[in-house]
């Protein structure tokens, strides 16, 4: 299985990402949707087929940075590609995310091409 996990508190943004990923013909068997980092972690613990995560930064309950750190603390998830897709475009925020273990970073607003470029860089 080859599922993409979308972690964003905005249902609108999850829908946009699904449309953009379908248009970009990213190889995928389906999507899982989580509205915060804690829900995202639950999916990762219960769904074995997740091969890519797209994650927002600012979310209630558990934010994107805490989520990335929590995922990287799981031995089996240390190389799982996680791309941050967020309005937080400051250099310090990008550095914090990459230091925590994010694999890529896309700033909103984005074009479909910028999402595809980030995923191609990860071999998707």
């Amino acid at each position: 299985m080859n599922k993409i996990l979308l972690v964003d508190d905005s249902g609108t943004m999850r829908k946009i990402l699904m449309r953009v990923l379908r248009q970009a013909e990213i190889d995928c068997d389906g999507f899982l949707e989580a509205s915060n980092g804690a829900e995202g972690l639950e999916f990762l613990n219960s769904e074995p087929g997740v091969s890519l995560v797209l994650c927002d930064f600012n979310m209630p309950v558990m934010n994107g940075l805490e989520f990335v750190k929590s995922v990287r603390a799981i031995e089996a998830r240390k190389t799982l590609p996680i791309v941050m897709v967020t309005t937080e475009g400051g250099a310090e925020m990008v550095k914090n995310a990459m230091d925590a273990g994010a694999s890529g970073y896309v700033t909103k607003p984005f074009t479909p091409e910028s999402i595809k470029t980030a995923l191609v860089a990860l071999g998707k």
Binding site: S10, G11, T12, K15, R19, N58, G90, A91, P109
Partner: protein
Amino acid sequence: MGSPTDGEYLLQTMRICVDEVFDKMVTGFRGAAVTAVHPIQSRENGVIKYSDKKSGSCSDELYEEAVIPFTGDVCGQVVLRCSGSGAKSIARGLLMMDESEALGLSDVRDALGECANMLAGALKSKALDPNGSFRLGLPEFGSPGPAGASGGALVYRVAEDSMSVEVWCCDTRRQP
């Protein structure tokens, strides 16, 4: 970089942010024209109307709104407002949906919140955040603007609808 408490600078920067967000993310809204800057606004029963003192023109009634608060050396908020049909148009443009696809009220509100979030994020990067010290809040609806803040509103004519983007800012360093 200008001062984030300079209302004119904030509005000029927000205008660039609106162009960027709508050009990249909201299909069908490219080339939206600003019709009034520094408008006079009136609020009656929760409905906002903007009047341009110079031209005398008046906006549609705007009542759907999303508010993104931000905090840091200065605090404030970005407010996106539109008419009911304008909100649906923005939501459809953002979600790349055509007229035949059903759109619920929660979809419209969530889309407006996301749009306002992107506007605030772009403003944060361009005008507020040289040191990465600002934090954006989660979308809110119906929050009043901060008293004594600098800033103003941009009013856009988009297709048959109106939309406004307000930015308000207070310098927290001046407070005891």
